[in-house]
């Protein structure tokens, strides 16, 4: 009788241990899955933003149209130039406030830098020279178009 009791007790303990190990494994397994999921949910770069995309295209069109006017006197187009600068400032501020959007902000920095090249230097040269040649305007439009297209392309490739 005592022998039977000990055997039964041993079996129950063995079963209990197995269940405990299985329970621990399951808890560990699901914790692992949850942790992996959480790590995977943190994006490296901002998600696609329809407003930023549309604004970049809008500013590109306005900038290229304004550049055509540079054969005329700078003073007579100050209003349009100021309006374009405001548009750029708005989208720049907007992109600055988006999380993990530093690459796009860097691109705007390069494009608008008055002491650099591209659009910033174009507006600066126009101001300094008063008027610019058709040939130079055409050349600048090619490079400024590429710059805007890079901003637009990056936005369009962000995950939707």
């Amino acid at each position: 009788m005592t022998k039977l009791y000990v055997t039964l007790q041993g079996n129950v303990c063995e079963q209990g241990n197995k269940l405990l190990i299985m329970f621990k494994k399951t808890v560990f397994f699901f914790s692992f899955v949850v942790l992996i999921s959480m790590a995977g949910c943190t994006p490296t770069i901002s998600l696609y933003d329809q407003y930023a995309y549309a604004q970049a295209i809008s500013v590109k069109v306005d900038a290229l149209n304004l550049m055509d006017l540079a054969t005329e006197d700078y003073q007579s187009h100050q209003k349009e130039i100021a309006a374009l600068n405001v548009e750029i400032q708005k989208i720049y501020e907007y992109d600055q406030r988006r999380t993990k959007d530093s690459l796009t902000v860097k691109q705007w920095d390069i494009l608008k830098n008055p002491n650099g090249h591209l659009l910033g230097s174009f507006l600066n040269n126009w101001k300094t020279s008063g008027k610019l040649s058709t040939v130079y305007i055409g050349d600048k439009k090619t490079t400024v178009t590429v710059a805007f297209d890079e901003i637009i392309k990056l936005e369009n490739h962000k995950n939707k």
Binding site: M22, T26, F29, V33, I36, S37, A39, G40, C41, P43, T44, I45, L103, T104, K106, Q107, I110, L111, G116, H117, L118, S121, N125, S133, V135, Y136, D139, K140, T142, T143, V144, V146, A147, E150, I151, K153, L154, H157, K158, N159
Partner: protein, 109 residues
């Protein structure tokens, strides 16, 4: 609860990750290569045009210098775009792996 064969699950995941990398990362690499070639060709054409314009006195030396600076800035812009696209693809790859793990494991449970 069904018994899970971890070796089998791991092999399935390994195959899934390889196939995911082939579609996500390799697609990005070939696109970046093609973009780089296009950019180089465009740069060559621009430099030829601008040099001719400078020789013909259609643009000044300062304008030529500015345009060459533009080219350098455009390359920087393109590099930033490529980094951004790579990061977005990496995010896709990460969430693809998570879905793969979840689908493989929860499919067994």
């Amino acid at each position: 609860m069904a018994q899970i064969n971890f070796d089998e699950v791991f092999n399935t995941l390994k195959q899934g990750v390889t196939s995911l990398a082939q579609t996500t990362i390799k697609g990005y690499v070939s696109e970046a290569e093609s973009d780089g070639q296009d950019m180089l060709n465009q740069m060559k054409a621009n430099l030829q045009t601008w040099t001719t314009q400078f020789t013909n006195n259609q643009i000044s030396q300062a304008e030529l210098t500015d345009l060459i600076g533009d080219q350098r800035d455009d390359l920087q812009m393109a590099a930033l775009t490529q980094i951004g696209i790579a990061e977005a693809d990496l995010d896709n790859f990460k969430s693809g792996i998570i879905s793969l793990i979840e689908n493989t494991i929860f499919g067994l449970v």
